[in-house]
């Protein structure tokens, strides 16, 4: 009995914090999403207009599609980059000291703020930016490449730059825990490098891949700053839609959108967790 009580007691601080700072705010958002509003205030009510306006508007569908597209492309590139870096760190660097050192090198970009890392792309990629000037100086191009900045390309570039590490860390973590004997056994049994990778490393690194994927997808789905700055305001994301609504005091409309986004992201994560049971494999 004492055991059970102490267990509950130990869990209660976290439960309390979650209830106060997660459940209550989300509950408030859900409630507000049914409120009515005018250009200044909102009124307690129970109306479906916020959801109706959201679902009946083609912009919503387009924006969700665009955001999902950003998430999918970013996820794919982050996965390739993250997996490769983690694989190199885990299997090609022998000394643990060197591993730690190189791992720290990966985190260097995170020593400056998110926004600064993003903005620093602008003078680099611009029409008269460093990259265009260098390419033109080398004679590789005659006209500056305009697609480099203020485009979807720039948005995805910034996302990958910002979030690839979220993929590296959990995958690396999974990989270092793989029993090296398994890989040797596979080689002894005549497996090629590719077969070892496919049949031993990837399956065992799956929990790391899944955790990294969840982090990247969740962050990209909710983002608005990167899209605004890197697309020069020319692309939309779901987050940006909410910001626009809030800036005109249309909180109920933003709340309805937030609820829908929350459901979409939860469904995506649920789907990912169905593919890999993280708790079983950790």
């Amino acid at each position: 009995m004492t055991n059970r009580w102490s267990g509950l007691l130990l869990a209660s601080p976290l439960a309390l914090i979650l209830a106060l700072f997660l459940i209550v705010p989300i509950g408030t958002i859900v409630v507000v999403s049914f409120f009515d509003y005018d250009s200044v205030r909102m009124f307690p009510a129970f109306v479906w207009t916020n959801y109706e306006e959201l679902f009946l508007s083609p912009i919503t569908w387009k924006t969700y599609f665009q955001t999902l597209q950003f998430a999918a492309i970013t996820w794919a590139i982050c996965l390739i980059v993250g997996f490769t870096v983690a694989y190199f760190l885990a299997f090609h660097i022998a000394s643990p000291l060197m591993q730690t050192a190189l791992f720290l090198v990966c985190t260097i970009p995170f020593w400056t703020s998110n926004v600064i890392r993003m903005i620093s792309w602008i003078p680099f990629l611009g029409r008269n930016g460093l990259l265009n000037q260098a390419l033109m100086g080398m004679g590789a191009i005659n006209e500056p490449l305009e697609f480099l900045l203020f485009s979807n390309f720039a948005v995805i570039l910034a996302y990958v730059h910002l979030y690839a590490l979220f993929m590296v860390v959990p995958i690396f973590n999974s990989m270092v825990r793989i029993d090296r004997a398994l890989i040797e056994a596979a080689r002894d049994a005549g497996a090629t490098e590719w077969q070892v990778l496919r049949n031993v490393v990837i399956p065992l690194a799956r929990p790391g891949i899944m955790i990294g994927s969840i982090l990247v997808v969740a962050v990209v789905m909710g983002d608005f700053v990167t899209v605004r700055l890197m697309s020069g305001g020319q692309s939309a994301s779901v987050g940006l839609m909410m910001v626009n609504a809030m800036s005109l005091l249309q909180y109920p409309a933003a709340a309805a959108n937030a609820v829908v986004l929350l459901i979409v992201v939860l469904l995506m994560i649920a789907a990912m967790l169905r593919i890999v049971d993280i708790r079983k494999e950790l």
Binding site: P123, F150, M241, S247, L249
Partner: protein, 426 residues
């Protein structure tokens, strides 16, 4: 009144005591000299957009009146939000006229008694009768005179003609147009529609603040002959549809390089040569020029899109704090601030007093459109323009007399924002 002159009492206590004392003394009718000692200890919390929230003004105010101003600068969206949702977090709201149309009806502000404003009669008539000169017509949009007065001391309804109850004391205002890079456009720019010239494909920008962006868009559409508005500041749904469709078509054709939201973004777009013609604010043009890059605030045939801001009193102000606020406002109009703002290229509410604080050359350059005789310096003492320079657009009357519309908030703004989102998402 003894208690209010004691030193070192907590501010809250002091105010409470003062409020109590004020009623007995009859000083609410406002003779500042009675309060001169007490006012020195008052703290007023003022918040607004960065343009007029300037520390130099707070410092000078402390020096002249003893009143401590705590300034908070926010972007315009946040200003509207805060003024409506947290009315007790400020004493003085420094907001724009289009915001007043939204904020005042929320019953968070109190109107000012014009009889307590010494220079009320000297305020530029744009803000009172609406007519800059007796023959001018009132421009479209949320013209300051249309939201300048309410019907009574506790009313939130705007009056159609001047009353004794003034909503805001104008601080700064200006006439906005397009900024261009004269070295890169390669031809004279005369009309708002020139921003849609295919020659500038991928080299233009407009601002992505829906309530202001739509106005620039309206100026462009009307100039291009796409549409003739009943009132650009209060469009019908059909007018909004047509405007946004035109913008979307231009966006698809690759006309725009970017949509900016903050001052620095607009400066960087222009200075880096990413764009050669765009929506711009006057200080941004100055900022580009101060980097040694040619930039013109181009007057256009269709006229300007004007904006203006002012100081409004929070509903909760009373007693000594209210008197201090009136004193601050009277000081604001008395000349030093006006000259300070005029030197930055803005316009101030009472021109006569500002003139007394400016040199003849400064007045000639900023207000009369005359060539500068010597170096024109900004309030920090940096040289802004050399001798011989002429202000873009000319004199005060040339510029403010050619206002086509004021920044506005529309009755259909809910619909407008949806459509604006569609434009950005397309």
């Amino acid at each position: 009144m003894v208690e209010t002159t004691k030193k070192g009492i907590a501010r809250r206590k002091l105010l409470a005591a003062a409020a109590g004392g004020a009623i007995g003394s009859g000083a609410v009718t406002g003779f500042p000299t009675i309060w001169a000692q007490n006012i020195r200890n008052v703290v007023l919390r003022q918040f607004g957009t960065g343009v007029s929230n300037q520390n130099a003004i707070a410092e000078k105010c402390k020096e002249d009146l003893g009143i401590t101003l705590q300034m908070t600068a926010l972007d315009s969206d946040a200003v509207v939000q805060r003024s409506v949702t947290q009315p007790n977090s400020y004493d003085i709201a420094d907001i724009e006229y289009w915001m007043v149309k939204k904020v005042f009806p929320a019953n968070v502000l109190q109107p000012m008694d014009t009889s307590k404003i010494r220079l009320f009669d000297k305020i530029v008539p744009i803000f009172t009768t609406g007519k800059l000169t007796p023959t001018s017509t009132i421009a479209q949009g949320t013209a300051p005179s249309t939201v300048g007065f309410v019907e009574g001391p506790t009313s939130t309804r705007f009056a159609s003609s001047p009353t004794q109850w003034f909503t805001m004391i104008p601080t700064i205002y200006n006439a906005d147009t397009l900024g261009i890079r004269p070295d890169l456009v390669g031809r004279p720019i005369k009309n708002w529609k020139d921003i849609m010239d295919p020659a500038f494909r991928g080299k233009t920008a407009i601002l992505n603040i829906p309530s202001i962006g739509i106005m620039d868009a309206a100026m462009i559409c009307e100039s291009a002959g796409v549409i003739r508005y009943g009132d650009k500041g209060n469009m019908t749904r059909a007018e909004i549809d047509k405007t946004i469709d035109y913008l979307i078509a231009a966006k698809r054709a690759g006309q725009f390089r970017a949509f900016w939201k903050t001052f620095d973004e607009s400066v960087n777009l222009m200075a880096s040569g990413e764009v050669v013609i765009q929506s711009m604010w006057s200080p941004a043009v100055t900022a580009v020029r101060s980097r040694g890059i040619a930039c013109t605030y181009q007057p256009l045939e269709e006229g300007y899109r004007a904006w203006g801001g002012g100081l409004a009193l929070a509903k909760h102000l009373r007693g000594i704090q209210l008197d201090a606020a009136y004193e601050y406002i009277n000081w604001y109009l008395s000349g030093w601030v006006g000259a300070y703002l005029n030197r930055q290229g803005y316009y101030s509410a009472v021109l006569e007093t500002a003139r007394e604080h400016m040199t003849a050359d400064e007045w000639g350059f900023w207000m009369e459109g005359k060539p500068a005789q010597g170096d024109i310096k900004n309030p920090q003492g940096q040289v802004m323009e050399r001798a011989g320079a002429v202000r873009d657009g000319g004199s005060f009357y040339d510029r403010m007399g050619a206002v086509a519309c004021w920044n506005a908030v529309m009755d259909e703004d809910r619909y407008m924002v949806q459509k604006w989102n569609q434009f950005i998402a397309s």
